[in-house]
Amino acid sequence: MATQPASLVTEGTQHPVRTLVLGLGNPLVSDDSVGLRVVQELRAELAAYSDVEVDEEYCGGLRLMERLVGYDRAILIDAICAGHAPGTVRVFSPETATTRHSASAHDVSLVVALALGCQAGAALPRREAIRLVTIEAADVETFGEECTPAVADSVGRAADIVRELLATWRSGP
């Protein structure tokens, strides 16, 4: 008999808690791709969990909100330009930071998009179940398929933070 994949099911709930780990970025624009690199590092190990999905997206605003439909929790990993040292990794809620893609201003911010989705009855994660893992970028203006060194070095740290968030959720209520 095949081994059942491990699960992040919270004990006592009626259905699996579905978690999306989503890297955001443009793979062709230097440090803007860092969120994608983090999920690429995590993809193989998280495949062991049946209730965790790992994916990559380029988008923000309405499209990002639409991507979150159907999940109970989400971790979004993205580059940020907040004036810190390149490679600095931090964790925010969507309300307290705007990253390269959560702030995609062509339509609306992620916060407004989430509110719209909720009003329209979409099955979205609760706000407190969404985390933004941000990596401070040095260069988001040059085409290239490599990150700058400090940002490239931060990929492992950002991946560790995603692992810790998942572990906290796994053990929490």
């Binding site: 499209r63 201003a105 339509d107 509110a115 719209l116 085409f143």
Partner: protein, 491 residues
Amino acid sequence: MTTQRISIDPITRLEGHGKIDIFLDPAGNVAETFLQIPELRGFERFCVGRPAEDMPNLTNRICGVCPEAHHMASTKALDALFHVDPPPTAKKLRELFYCIFYATDHTTHFYALGGPDFVMGPDAPKEQRNILGVIQKVGMEIAGKVLKMRRDGHHLIEMIGGRKVHPNWGLPGGVSRGINEEQRCEIEARGREAIEFARFSLQLFNDIVLGNPAYVELVTSDAYTHRTYNMGTVDAQNRVNFYDGLIRVVGPNGREHAKYPARDYREYIAEHVEPWSYLKFPFLKKIGWKGFVDGEDSGLYKATPLSRLNAADGMATPLAQQEYERMYDTLGGKPVHHTLATHWARLVELLHATERWVELAVDPEITGKEYRALPTHRPDEGVGSVEAPRGTLTHHYWTDERGILTRVNLIVGTTNNYAPIQLSIKKAAQGLIREGVVVTEGLLNKVEMAFRAYDPCFGCATHYLPGQMPLTIRIRAADGQVLREISRAAP
């Protein structure tokens, strides 16, 4: 002379986070305005040395807003590069795909980006001037309608184009796969619903904007009016077409200035450089650069939904034609030069896109099996062009005999409008900021409104290659005096 600077940063609801600086003179009047755009560098270097066939899949990642437009312009550039004419089914499938994209994109702009200014009013608090405010005012059902329209559009784009975001479907000479009857039925059904959504949107605009004399006055006010040239792609009957045709330019008086195939663009378009901007300013070569001024003698042109309607003699679909006539009747005939009427024109185009979507979905050839012609000629140079939602989009590639890229040039939709946007910002600022007038949020938003009407997307506007067109560079002292002028002829 000392000046006081007012900054609007970032421009809310805009891709790429541009920045507007308004310089006031000591009397408190607008002296000068600048929109500056962060530069994205190295696109040509990134592309050169790669096979040209990679371009539809590379360029659709330039920009997160209109990947489908880049994919289609790039695919058409490959047709030209490899000297291959796609079969009718392929052309129709591409246009169908493109109309679905258009309908989805225009929906998002109207409801999320441009509409809130009108529905909520330009003086409404910033927190309310967004799609949530629109829903609160118009009703909850609108949220579901907008999201359904987007969901249907994305679903069909994925069904036809192979991937939900970045299509990988266009090939030189056609497309990689066709559609079956079951898929055709679904496309037609969703398209019929989309037509109703477009009609609903026009009715909403009619009730809320046209029904409010204050808004009509704002739309037609001098602060938002510029008499520039207009550019758009037209079919053989001079009707609007998003996918293919000839580029037509009409003057401020509505008379045809030029009509040409996209491959000849360098005979008609040149670029001007200002020392304060990374992005260059395209202008009509035969008219010439006269600065940031409008009128017959200034080579400034616009390439927007309103420009496309101005540049055409009509719409190719019946309901959109009715709305086209109604718009021009209401606004006093063609051409219309009121920037804010671009929002109305965008809705007329939305209706056109949905009607054309259904026309193509019921075309007997749309499920044909001949959707690709194989290239047999040696590649050398090719230009492809479509009407992106934000203006005429041109891709130009040069390769060696193996099809490896040696040069790349893009003129993206928003770039066409960079100079008129500067003009709009300055004029709006001059009309709205006068001596002694306190700068309120609503006032600054009205300046931004001049900008937003163009649906600008500078995320990709800075990616094109420097040095392909004749340039004039002026280096100015702080007081505006020209210290040096450097000119370079066309290559």
